[in-house]
């Protein structure tokens, strides 16, 4: 029973360790430092978005738009730098602009959810279509190319051998953890997601907090967009961000965030993203046949989460 408790408390961590061991045994290259760094690098984009998603979901919402939202923000960043010229100042300026616009659009979705009383699924499904449509329209279905080498270098930069996206991601995890678990705002996010009526009766400004979660979502998407678009030096209007919503929600849910709100942890989402990243990496490392990748992935995800529930079935 003691072991069971440990497994269930750190269930996802446990699942992760098992995964890593299996992958390491089957393919020693998996455990190379370089590969571990790569995994963190690869999950950083989805991971950052998933952190924003965690705020939104704990507050009782959902955001389906993140994929196309990211493409839009990436395009915005690239176009702004292109317009402002290849200087450090213009790169910083356009990063700030992109984050501001992301926050604003997030606030827009949040406003429609909170004040318009439209289900978040509908609002963000609509936003998903709208954003993608805008991205496609301005690029005519093509690619936004960065003409600034300064901008493109950010995403590829390394500090102490560690890629910048990874560093940003880890810092973001820490900051988000603190905000969610150590601040008043974070407490309120849990409260409105767990019991909106009680929150209302406790003099919490439910609408404001709800909108704020979407603002955080928008900022997260922008940061991720800046990292990915600078790394790739481009944004494809048709494919960038496709399916990200599912991955981001999956990372949060695997990490224990509940779709109905009030429950979740940033560390959980971090581990959830890591599980997804390890699976994807492992499939390539082990050269799993193309058509069977889905099978393996599906089975691993289901069993990893099942492990967490050992206690509940007591």
């Amino acid at each position: 029973m003691h072991l069971r408790d440990v497994i269930s408390k750190y269930g996802i961590l446990f699942a992760l360790i098992v995964l890593i061991l299996v992958a390491g045994i089957l393919s020693p290259a998996f455990l190379k430092i370089q590969n571990i760094i790569n995994i963190f690098w690869q999950i950083s984009y989805i991971g950052i978005i998933a952190i924003g998603m965690t705020f939104i979901m704990i507050g009782g919402g959902i955001d389906l738009s993140v994929g196309s939202f990211m493409a839009l923000m990436g395009a915005l960043a690239i176009q702004t730098v292109n317009a402002l010229g290849d200087t450090v100042g213009s790169v910083i300026l356009s990063i700030l602009i992109t984050i501001a616009v992301g926050a604003l659009l997030g606030a827009g979705s949040g406003f429609l959810v909170a004040k318009g009383r439209i289900p978040p699924f509908v609002v963000t499904l609509g936003a998903m279509a709208i954003y993608r449509s805008l991205v496609l329209n301005f690029a005519n279905g093509g690619v936004y190319m960065s003409r600034s080498t300064k901008y493109s270098s950010i995403g590829m930069m390394r500090i102490l051998e560690l890629p910048v996206p990874m560093i940003v991601f880890l810092i973001y995890v820490i900051i988000a953890s603190i905000i969610l678990e150590r601040t008043k705002f974070g407490r309120y996010v849990y409260a409105i997601g767990a019991n909106e009526t009680a929150a209302l009766y406790s003099a919490i400004n439910v609408d404001k907090i709800r909108i704020a979660t979407y603002v955080i979502g928008g900022i997260s998407v922008s940061i991720s967009a800046i990292l990915i678009s600078s790394m790739m030096g481009s944004v494809s209007s048709s494919s960038t961000g496709n399916g990200f919503e599912l991955d981001a929600i999956a990372a949060a849910v695997i990490g224990g965030t509940s779709l109905s709100g009030g429950k979740g942890k940033i560390v959980g989402t971090f581990l959830g993203a890591l599980v997804l990243g390890v699976i994807n990496n492992m499939l390539v490392m082990l050269n799993v046949a193309v058509y069977l990748q889905g099978l393996v992935k599906g089975l691993i995800i289901i069993s990893a989460v099942f492990l967490q529930n050992v206690r509940r079935s007591e």
Partner: protein, 294 residues
């Protein structure tokens, strides 16, 4: 009135096709006798629905790139039987009931790439395949590629992984493969978009030397590299998204009763297979359309 039905832009090449379709339609903008309806679908049954709607709206010609061959067959046949001039683009249908068929050559697309790599490596080396999203076309190309390698037993395929026609995915897959394999001599990607992701991964790992890279479909940035004599990429094989423009022109000519220049026959040819052309430094500028999105 002409209806044009193609898959939605969900990666570079399909984006290119949508662009070229719009491009062709714009050419006829001033011609008041022509009216175009362009629709894009994300899934076969959605495309069936769109063609149904086009038929209900009333069209004289249908130019369609079927999302998948078999599922779209019944509705294309229905259009044909209703007397709509039906032009099938790229993916054939499982029936002979259509007017004209124009397509690229998937087999040679994969085969030529394989052959080039084998010769370039002098029949010996380790290669990696990064393919697209699993689909009929993808399977055919990969098969052809492998066929081309058959005479070369010393060429070893280290890994074959999907890159989903996406730069980002291809980048990540290549990143991982580079850590796993210390020696990779050549990479073939299903299209040029993924090739760019691969190049990025190579640069990042500082292994962008002494490696043979082949993509395909003539994406403009890759063509630019070839034109500029970039040593990384020296060759490309066409699979032109502008076949849709040709198809639209064919439909217009048919409706206007024109015939093809140089053809003694009246009417349009029934089957056109565009050959996979090889692009090198010498001829690259002929394929380079800076305005196009692909």
């Amino acid at each position: 009135r002409i209806g044009v039905a193609i898959p939605a832009a969900d990666h570079g090449w399909t984006g290119g096709m949508v662009w070229w379709a719009q491009y062709a339609i714009k050419q006829y903008a001033k011609d008041s006798t022509l009216e175009f309806t362009l629709v894009t679908a994300r899934e076969p049954s959605e495309q069936v629905a769109q063609v149904q709607t086009l038929l209900a709206k009333g069209i004289d010609a249908l130019v369609i790139n079927p999302y998948e061959s078999a599922p779209l067959t019944p509705i294309c046949v229905e259009a044909f039987r209703k007397g709509v001039y039906t032009v099938i683009v790229d993916r054939g249908i499982e029936s002979e009931e259509y007017n004209t068929y124009i397509a690229g050559d998937n087999y040679m697309y994969g085969y030529l790439a394989g052959k080039y790599i084998a010769e370039k490596l002098k029949g010996k080396g380790n290669i990696v395949i990064i393919e697209g999203i699993p689909s009929t076309i993808n399977t055919e190309r990969v098969q052809a590629f492998k066929d081309a390698l058959k005479p070369y037993p010393n060429i070893k395929i280290l890994a074959q992984q999907p890159g989903n026609w996406s730069r980002e995915t291809a980048f990540q897959v290549m990143q991982t493969l580079l850590t796993k394999f210390p020696q990779i001599d050549a990479v073939w990607t299903g299209d040029d978009d993924m090739l760019q992701g691969v190049i990025l991964a190579l640069q990042q790992a500082k292994r962008d030397k002494n490696i043979v890279l082949v993509g395909g479909a003539g994406q403009k940035e890759i063509l630019k590299m070839i034109m500029d004599g970039n040593p990384l990429v020296q060759i490309d094989f066409t699979y032109p998204p502008n076949m849709i423009s040709t198809a639209i022109n064919l439909a217009v000519m048919q409706l206007k009763g024109q015939n093809l220049n140089g053809f003694y026959q009246k009417g349009m040819p029934r089957k056109i297979i565009l050959s996979t052309e090889t692009i090198t430094k010498e001829n690259a500028k002929d394929y380079y359309f800076p305005d196009s999105v692909f």
